[in-house]
């Protein structure tokens, strides 16, 4: 499933998810795999094998939601996406921006900061 390097690992979406790249539940499965490697690896390379995902639900749940738990710098340095279609890359960036906006809003209130802290410690 994974070709692990020294401190680097590949996550092959096609191999893990097959055709299940549509719903939030499908996306959550991928996020769990990413989080499994989060501490142990310096770099997680997500390979899309030029699959067309075209699902905001899947992409948000798998990747963009990480921005609610980890800082943008941490996510940027840890994750890279290869063999991704232009459309999916556009979707990913748009959803990441939306999650950053959400995070900024949450950071403005005590209740929001508490929510973020709960996510960070989960």
């Amino acid at each position: 499933m994974f070709a692990a390097g020294l401190r680097e690992t590949y996550i092959d979406i096609k191999k893990i998810a097959g055709v299940d790249t549509v719903s939030r539940e499908h996306g959550k499965k991928i996020r769990k795999v990413i989080e499994l490697f989060w501490k142990a690896k310096d770099r997680i390379i997500v390979d899309f094998s030029n699959l067309s995902i075209a699902s905001p639900s899947f992409i948000d749940e798998a990747f963009a939601k990480l921005l609610l738990k980890y800082s943008l710098d941490a996510v940027k340095s840890k994750l890279s996406f290869v063999n991704m279609t232009d459309f999916d890359r556009a979707l990913l960036n748009d959803l990441v921006m939306a999650r950053i906006r959400e995070r900024n809003l949450l950071e403005q209130t005590p209740k929001g900061r508490f929510k973020l802290a709960v996510k960070r410690n989960r």
């Binding site: 939030r24 075209a54 699902s55 905001p56 959400e102």
Partner: protein, 281 residues
């Protein structure tokens, strides 16, 4: 009881068609669906009428009758698209170059979506951006149906390509609880129109966790495409155009949700949401 469908049975006559479909489901008499004078029917009308027929037939010993259109072309089209099979009439179900057969889905099936996209692509020449946008729209709409609608009959999907107008009409109809009923648990709203307008806003969801990007992205896509997104639920009907929003209070309520997309195929519409220079990944 006879229900007569308009000459142009399209989303422009949503009120009449919805009222007809609600009336036949209320009565216990033999209901006759009359299409005698109908000359044109769009995916919206096809999906909602198919759902109404099925709703009637779910009642034991319920009888329905069908008076087909006099218009030969429309009669053949309804047969080919699989509409007649809902009346238990053997249709020809011939694949036409420009239509996607009426289908009832009972679960989110990724393979069906893939197949449908391949089918649409083979019948209608689409740019890559358009194909991806269409796939995104279809996936997100089906996710909404199966995550939120609580529909016992799943949903009805139908699409039609109009080559002369360079337009695709795609409609997904479910007979579930509707948007207001889903969102009012989390948001303080009381009207169907407000619920529909809220549902396309970023981050709006009935889920306990943050979500709600599906309809927002479809709206963004159709804005770029200069298409139209129409959502009907309860007594509300809202048309989202690229530059304006039109809302209507309908005379009769529709129990469920109808999402109708009008997509221009002459626009490349490659879906770049943020400028590439702003990309983080």
């Amino acid at each position: 009881m006879q229900v007569i469908f308009p000459k142009l049975s399209t989303i422009a006559y949503a009120d009449t068609i919805i009222k007809n479909c609600a009336n036949v489901q209320k009565t216990r008499d033999i209901s006759t669906f009359v299409f005698e004078k109908t000359t044109f029917i769009d995916p919206f009308a096809i999906t909602i009428i198919a759902g109404a027929i099925q709703g009637c037939l779910r009642t034991k010993n319920r009888k329905i009758a069908y008076i087909p259109p006099k218009d030969r072309k429309l009669k053949d089209y309804l047969s080919q698209i699989g509409f007649n099979s809902f009346f238990h009439i053997n249709g020809k179900n011939i694949h036409k170059d420009t239509s996607v057969e009426l289908t009832q889905l009972m679960a989110l099936r990724p393979l069906y979506i893939e197949k449908l996209i391949i089918l649409i692509e083979s019948k209608m020449s689409l740019s890559k951006g358009m194909k991806d946008s269409l796939k995104m729209s279809l996936q997100e709409l089906l996710i909404n149906v199966f995550d939120h609608s609580r529909s016992n009959s799943g949903c009805f999907v139908c699409a039609q390509y109009y080559p002369n107008k360079m337009l695709i009409r795609l409609c997904i109809t479910d007979f579930g609880v509707g948007i207001l009923s889903t969102l009012k648990k989390k948001y303080k709203i009381t009207s169907d129109i407000k619920a529909i307008k809220l549902s396309v806003e970023e981050g709006v969801t009935s889920r306990p966790q943050s979500a709600g990007f599906g309809l927002t992205h479809i709206r963004k896509f159709l804005k770029i495409n200069k298409g139209v997104l129409t959502i009907i639920s309860g007594r509300g009907k809202v048309d989202f155009y690229s530059n304006r929003v039109a809302e209507y209070n309908m005379a009769g309520a529709f129990e469920g949700t109808i999402v109708n997309l009008e997509i221009n195929t002459n626009k490349k519409s490659l879906y770049f949401l943020t400028g590439e220079e702003d990309y983080i990944f």
